[in-house]
Structures are given as C-alpha cells and as structure tokens.
Symmetry: C2
Subunit: 418 residues, 2 copies
C-alpha cells in the first residue's frame, strides 16, 4: 500500500455517526501488530449473558477457517444456553486458504478469548480480514487479549469499527431507534468492506447489536431476510469474498417481553429498523467501493418474478460496460439494453423501458420520442444516480446498488504488486 496516499472516497458520509451504547455490550480495540504496526487491528465485543445471536455468511465454496468455525458454533447453540458471547475480529490477515493451520489459529484465539472472558470457546465468534494464504500469527492476538479485556467499554464502538478496516477509506457505522409496544430499543452496528484489494482478499464484515429481546429463531430469520434485501443487493465488482460475515447479537436488556416468534406483531417494526441500519451500512460499503465516484441505484420493475428482477439488476450492476459508461458520465442506455438481454431473465425488447431518474429514455423497443441526449448527459453528471428498468412483463421488482468502474479501481487492483 506504500507509495499511494490513502484517499477518502468522494462518496463518503460527512462524519461517522455517534454510536450509542447498547446495554449488555462492551467493545475494545488494540494494536496487536497482526501485520502492520501502529494501527488498531484487533477488536473484541463482549455480549453479556442472556443474549441471542444470529449470523449469515459468504456462500463461497472456499470459505475461510473463521467462517467455517462461526457456522459450526452457531449451528451447535441451544436455545437458552447460559453464558454470554464474544466477537473477536482481526484485520491484516484473513486466515483464508491456510489449510489446517487456519483451524488451529481460530481455536487458539477463540480459546484465549473464552478463558479471558469466562465463557465457552463455542460462544466466541471470530472473523479475520486481510492477506490470504499466509499463516495468521495467532499468538499476537492471544497476547493482546488481557489488554482487550481491561479496555472493554460500552462507548468504544467507533474504535472497534476502525480496528476492522483494511483498505476501507472510512469507518462505517449506523444506528436506528424504534419503539416496540412503547419500549424504546436501539439497533446499532458497524461494517467494513470496499471490494477486494491487492494484496488483500477483501471481505465484508458486519456486526450488529441491539438491546431488544428477540429469541434466536426469529432473530436469525429477520437477519437472513434483511441481509438478502440489503447486503445481498450490493455489488462493487461482482467478486465474492471467502470471508464475508454478518453477526447480530440481541442482549434482551430492554424492558420488554421477548419476541418469541416471527408472527409477533412487534417483529415488522423491529425488522424495519433492522433494515434501515443494514441498508445504511450496505450503501456505505458501495460508497467506499474501490475507485467509486458514483453511487448507482438500479430499480428493476415489471419482471416476471422477483428473481428475474434481481437477475436483471445484478447483470446491469456488474456489467463493466455499464459501469464504465457511468464513470464516463455517458448516458449510454444501449449498454443497459445489452445487460438486460444477457441476464438470462425473461425480457421483451419491445416492452422494455429505461429511465434515468425521472427521464424516460427508451420505450417500445426504441429511444423515447421525448428523450433528449442533453438531458441524459446532464443527469449522468450527478454523484448519485437512479437507473430504472421496467420490463413490462409482470410484477417482479428488485433494487440493486453499485458504483462505477474507474481508473482508480484498476490502479488499486493492478498497479500494486504483492
């Protein structure tokens, strides 16, 4: 990374939000020297007994050791199991594609955190992000454990958010407050991710915390469904990490009877707030997309099914030709037609319509009579774009978010040598 000043994405939010304390959660961060010196690179979150926890992970067939550990431990949890939880995360090394040594490193760090906090090792969830194929120096993380425990504080979420950054140009946090039957609860979280960057195997990591009381089953269901509608609807370069991890803990400290099942009338309210936080974080990841200068929302309507709509949206969002046209502020709607055509979704050229924001660009198999190229060109100069595609076939809808593809992406990913 040396030799290039770290730039902050032009799409970054003005400031990191004030993340409120969540009753039952404490954070600490440390400089453990996992790979680099003089920067926060390990974070520990301690979740008090009585909490529930849920997670979703990368679908990659080459998942990292930490992901395999989390999946295994999450599946083994029993409802109402006593003891709190911990989330232990390092940056600098992804502990991915490290063979058996990867598993050993996970066990060493999870055990150290478990002993230090007095909880079972199976209650320690781990995530690693950074270079791959190199052994994780677990002993450095173990050595930092005592200091992490001593530093645990309810108001240290921003430090934790900074400790998990790798090539992110800004830390990412979000918060929502909502009342459940008159009881105020808070959902708060932070994330890292900005595509994949040489020589790192990038990763999207998301950690969410709430003081709401939600049983494991409905919490897991809400987290999975909401992740599908947010984090699984963003794409920077179509490349998928081996390490993507999203974990959410609900401490149950709010003065409310627990939400015991998904049919609870408070669940839609909770889920809406959860979606707000997740979407906020997901869009921050896109805003930090490598080389991004434009945030692009792709709204697909009129598809035969929601799955088809998603297929079209991702085909447009991942098309290098669409992404370079956006970078060049070129209202090249022909490339959108192309991406619709190649998506594999049902489409009829003559029913398709395309909009840039409110501007009708193409319809009925041809450019719209009212469309003026100058209007399209002016629209494309915005930093945030909405590209609308209506397939005219049914009621399937999807919204996908992406960024443009610029020289800076090539610089970041090709011009450095590992």
């Amino acid at each position: 990374m040396a030799g290039k000043a770290p730039l902050v994405s032009p799409l970054a939010p003005a400031a990191f939000p004030a993340l409120p304390a969540i009753d039952g959660v404490r954070f600490a961060a440390a400089e453990a020297g996992v790979r680099y010196q003089g920067r926060l690179d390990v974070m520990l979150a301690e979740v008090a007994p009585g909490a529930t926890i849920a997670g979703v992970f990368t679908r990659s067939a080459t998942r990292s050791g930490p992901v395999l550990w989390c999946e295994e431990k999450l599946a083994a949890l029993r409802d109402g199991e006593p003891g709190g939880f911990a989330v232990l995360v390092n940056s600098g090394n992804a502990n991915a594609f490290t063979g058996n040594a990867g598993r050993t490193a996970v066990e060493a760090t999870a055990s150290a955190a478990a002993e230090t906090l007095g909880i079972p090792a199976g209650h320690v969830f781990v995530a690693s992000t950074g270079v791959i194929g190199e052994p994780l120096k677990a002993e450095r993380i173990v050595a930092a454990m005592q200091g992490l425990r001593d530093g645990l504080a309810a108001d240290a979420a921003e430090r934790a958010a900074r400790a998990i950054m790798t090539t992110d140009t800004f830390p990412k946090g979000a918060v929502a407050r909502v009342e459940l039957d008159g009881v105020p609860v808070t959902i708060m979280g932070f994330a890292k991710g900005s595509g994949m960057i040489a020589p790192d195997m990038a990763t999207m990591l998301v950690f969410l915390f709430t003081d709401a009381a939600v049983a494991r089953g409905p919490l897991q269901a809400a987290v999975a469904r909401t992740a599908d509608a947010t984090f699984n609807c963003i794409t920077v370069d179509g490349d998928t990490s081996t390490s993507d991890t999203l974990l959410m803990a609900a401490t149950g400290r709010a003065a409310m009877p627990p939400i015991a099942d998904a049919a609870d009338p408070r669940m839609p309210v909770f889920a809406a707030a959860l979606e707000e936080v997740m979407r906020d974080l997901a869009l921050q990841v896109v805003r930090d997309g490598e080389g991004a200068t434009k945030l692009v929302e792709i709204r697909v309507t009129g598809a035969e099914s929601a799955a088809d709509a998603r297929r079209v949206g991702l085909s447009i969002a991942n098309s290098p030709l669409v992404k370079t046209a956006v970078a060049g502020e070129d209202p090249n709607w022909g490339r959108i037609v192309m991406a619709v055509g190649k998506s594999g979704a049902a489409a009829d050229r003559d029913r398709l319509s395309i909009r840039f924001g409110d501007i009708l660009v193409a319809e009925k198999g041809w450019v719209a009579p009212s469309y003026r190229e100058a209007d399209g060109a002016a629209y494309m100069k915005r930093a945030e774009l909405v590209l609308g595609v209506d397939l005219g076939l049914g009621t399937g809808e999807a919204t996908i978010w992406t960024c443009d593809l610029t020289h800076r992406y090539i610089e970041i990913n090709a011009d450095y040598r590992s």
Copy 2:
C-alpha cells in the same frame, strides 16, 4: 473515436493470413458511408447455388433485428432448396433497438441484395454492427448494391474482413486445409469483435466458408458444437452483444460425395479442421480485447462435470480482480481461489490445486511447499499465460480464454462520450 490514435493490440498476429479462394464464393466490399466516410463499411458474400448454410446467434433476450431475421430465415430453409445465398454485412450501425424501423431496414437491404443477385430475399442473411438505437440508413446500403455486385471476386476476402471491423484494431482471418477421404477441402473465415466499445454496441461476427459438401443438418450440428467449444469459451468483459452472429456456408464444390449425416466417418476430420479455424478466430478476438496486454488460457480440470468446469473457468475469466491482477503481473493466486469459490460449482478448498503454467502454486488448501513467489512473479510477465485449476473432484474439464483488464479498457469505455 476522434482524438485517440487507433492502436494495434500488442497481442495481434504478425500479419493477416493469405485467405485462399473457396470455389463457389465471391466477396465484395464498398464504402457506403453508413456512418463514417472513407472507409469500407459494407461487405457482400455471394454463395453459389447448391450450397448449404448454418448459423448460431446471440442468446440475448434483446436480439437485434438482423439476428431475428437470420434466425427466422434459417429455420424456414428446406433441404435442397435451389438458389444460392448471400451474406450482407454493414459496420457503423448495429440496427439494434431500433423498433419497427429496424425490421423495415433489414427487409429493404435483404430485398435489394436478393434482386441484384437473383435469389430469394429469404436467402440473404444480414448482420449489422456499430452504434445502436439509431435508424440504419438502409438506402445507403441499397445504393451500394450494384457496385458490390460488379466488384464480386473470389480473392476479396481480406477486403470483406476489413469492411466488417468497427473498433477492432486488426482484421481477423483463419484458414485450414484438410483431406476428406483423399479429397482436399478448405475451410476459411473471418471475424470481427473486440469487446464492446463506446459509443458502439459491439458485436462478434463470424463468417465461414468451405468447399466441402456437407448437408444442412450435420453442418448445423458441427457449427453449433464447435462454436460452443470455441467462441462460447472466450470472454473479454462478460458482456454479451445483442447482435452476435456466426454463419457458415458449404458450397459443395469439392469433388466429394456429400457428408449426409453426423455419423459419416469424414465428419470428425472435417469438424477438427473447423474447430481449428474457429479457435484461431476466437483467440484473435480475445487478442483484440479492449485494452488487452495478456492472453490468458484458463484450464479447469477435475470438476464434478464439464458444466461445473466451465462455470469455474468463466468465473475466473470474468473476475475483475483476477483480470486486474494479470494486468499488474501480480501472481495473486488468492483471487483465483476466490473466483473458484464464488462460481457456484462444487469445490473443496482442501482438494483444489492451482498452477501458473507448469508451476505448482497451491494445493491441499494452502500454498505449495515448493512454490516461490519469485517464480510466480516471473511467470506473470509473459504475454500469454496458462492458469491451471484442478478441483480434485471428478473428470469435468473446460478451457476458457480471456484477456486482462487494464487502464486502456477504462479509457476506451469511459473516457469517450457518446
């Protein structure tokens, strides 16, 4: 296109091959001024009576008018139908997403060629490549028809190959000679394509000619199967044109009894020669990939099925992170692991092995003990790379060809405004 000197791809062949005459085929090219002045932009191929013809086309759901016409006319042909064929191609305008006017333009040009050559309009196959969404000035092509007919010559294939270029940096031709039961036959063809380029909707067009006698059924089967193994195994940017067209005519002028069905023992010999020509042209398209500086062959073995192998190969070939690593001459095998993992194919991290040429890079879930980064880095400096991935699961194999992703790709596709 103005303002940038046209560069020739550094991967271009040293010279255009000498394309031999094919008995029963004549070519002509003209400057019709379809879009640009002073360059060849229309080509006509006349195929004498007694020939058979076959074709494969883009699978895009937003296929262009010319593609729809060719599919329809090809399907309507009856075996042994009298009368020859024509192939009429223009560059400068793709006649795609032009609504009903697109069909009218196809009919006008096909009818003009039919009248001029004295064949049915349904025997005229058309293709168009260039800008999309603009009406094709069919009258300019019609006006050139008489001159095209007068210029028809057996040795004009290179002019024809040049007339169909848009943003190609070199014309693409290939030839193979083979004996079928002692009878020498020739397969010859030319192609255009180099990804997609602003403000054009790019297109891959391929036209093949042979003097062999092959009935329609087995010709179509051989063309489709061979296209799957060649043109459908290359990718520049993963984007699919609305206009891709491959047509092959067999004049039957060679002194041989016709190959009447696919079980004919001469068919494998013919098909092997056909594959040689198609692969040659397909690789020339990759060599002319926008901004390409490296030709990359991805050999996938050990997959559970051939389909899985293809999935893995395309996932690697279309990964912006793999393509930028290649551009940067970075032996970043972690990105290959990532691309395998995201492909959707069955994969086991601990059985996967990766090679750069003959260099074993990773195996058993980790970097190979014998691998030295310096060897990988030296290998990546080559202009032509072979990346080997063995999944260790079965016998499925596939080979995919691609090029790297460079600043020049962004320049070509983002820096011009339409």
